[in-house]
Amino acid sequence: MIKSWQLGRERNNLSTRISILTIVVSFFLTVLLNFSCSLEKVALKKAASMLTSTTSGNVFTSDDDPELIAQALPFAIKFYESLLSTLPEHRGLRLRTGSLYIMYANAFIQTPAEMTPLSEIETRQTMLARAKKLYLRGRDILLVELEKKNPELRKQLRARQWQKALSSFNQEDVDFLYWAAAGWVAAYSIDPFDMSIGLSLPEAAALMNRVLELQPDYSEGAVHNFYILYYGSLPESLGGDDSKALEHFKKAEALCAGSDTSYLLSLATAVSVKNQNRQEFINLLKKVLDFDLNQAPQNRLVNILNKRKAAWLLEHADDFFLPSEEIKDIPGSVEEKK
């Protein structure tokens, strides 16, 4: 009985000691863990800053092997995204993740989809649907950052209160505004009958208008290139306007003629095709093909991709242009020649 009491006391003592030891160990472990966590965070932040520096971006944009980049980007994007989930406050990481989704969707999903032959139209549709999804994913990642500054942003944009929604944004937000708008409009262009995106198109345009206000020469004319496509592609009833597209073409040309050929492609595909101006289309695309890649090594990737697209467009020009009426205006000429 005593023994059992003593045993009980000893057991109690032992359990008290174990408890104290557990607390002490837990305390030290917590301190250590916190210390290692903050160490890990410091290291992650350092890595994130390094990974999102301009130099690291150039590793992709200056590459001359689009296939290599096409294969490398999905892994890179997911890597950035997983880092972002640990460091959600890291602006550079958020910008890089969101914008890469949009760039990847454009260069490596939408563009190849557009060049997919008619016989594979279902594949084309699947690729386009995927591009749309990634555009919106990129946009939403970027909007999170903008909403930190203005938590009412989406609500005010929906209410068309542009001034209220966007006045708090300044130079440091331009990248976020630009890429969010670009992803938004690109998603619309893929599926113009998606009612929810279509109805929010003016909201996307408002973000880009703010970029134009804050930094008209943003990214060597990127904002003007956007407007060539925007005004050139939209129907007049929704704000399309060829003269405005041309105005932005001239501004883009002044800012990036020596470094980026995208503005030439934009005018050719959005305006020349619509106006059935075949000669203008050919001239613009030839300029893309003649561009010296060494002139702008930092944009080598985009210029190579543009050359590929220009060559494809020239090869398929008959798919975009009708023969002139003067030639065909001979009774029965088209059919009878066959």
Binding site: I121, Q125, D191, M195, V273, K328, I330, V334
Partner: protein, 338 residues
Amino acid sequence: MKNGFCKIVIIIWLFFFAFYPAGLRAAVEIKIGSVAPERSPWHTALLKVARDWESITGGEVKVRVYPGGIAGSELDMIRKVRLGVLQGAVLTNMGMMKIEKSALVLNLPFLFNSDEEFSFVFQKLKPIFEARVEENGFKVVQWTQSGWVYFFSKGPVFTPEDLKKYKISITKDDPDLEQVWERMGYQVVPQDTKDMLIGLESGMVSAVYLPAVMAASGQYFAIASHMLAPKLSPLVGGLVLSRKIWEQIPEKFRPALLKAADTQAKLLSQEIYNLEEEAFRAMKENGLKINQPSEEAMARWREVSSRAIESLVGRVIPADIYQKTLDFIREYRAQSEK
């Protein structure tokens, strides 16, 4: 010797034609214009028809599609088909009317009460329209029903008298319709479809009649935010080819081509039906007010519209077609009552 050489040449040519693979034979090239925007469901359905036709004919029929109005308005496209610049066009019933006036019966307001009723009557009328369209040098290869047309106005409209307060945008180039509207005491402004939204914004017009999908995707409802609930008329469209090009297609392929076009038309109609539902949901969420007239008001609408129709019968609408339409409607209603 000379004759012998000629024989050899002839024999070689005969062999050449006999064994020349079908894929290398000169294809029948069909260029089709459409005002439907690129990547819209109408455009995608047309591309699928193009793909199916190429596949069915082993490449003997090659189809190129020119979307987004780059081939001009419906009237331009009809002219271009007649000239041989295009060999086909996708038309709405407004375009069909330009080829065959009797198609106007499909546009008559408040004539059909439901999808089922319209479908019953249309199946009976189709062969009549097709024969008449053929007499005019065209072949209808596909019919599509793309939802319904509704009245949208800047303020509430419940009765025919309410509508008199508004300036109604109507299709250009149709003096007969214009006259009928005016005779009924309405203010009308003939316009191109592309100018309708600008007209609403500027106040030049204050009411429009449009398919629900277009009212939503084009954001017309944001300005003309009241909709009259009853369906005005069905939006029927079709793909027509020049009869000349149709007859160049080897006869053995024609039934399969028509079947493929019809399959895509049915899929498209279902897609548009879903899109219309989506359009209503989006418009209601964004402030569209749907005004349901009373039974009495509805009777007034039918009375006013039948008066207008009567003034067109015999002059614009062939009396026999109108009579047949009414007979089929009665037949359907009698069957439904049983």
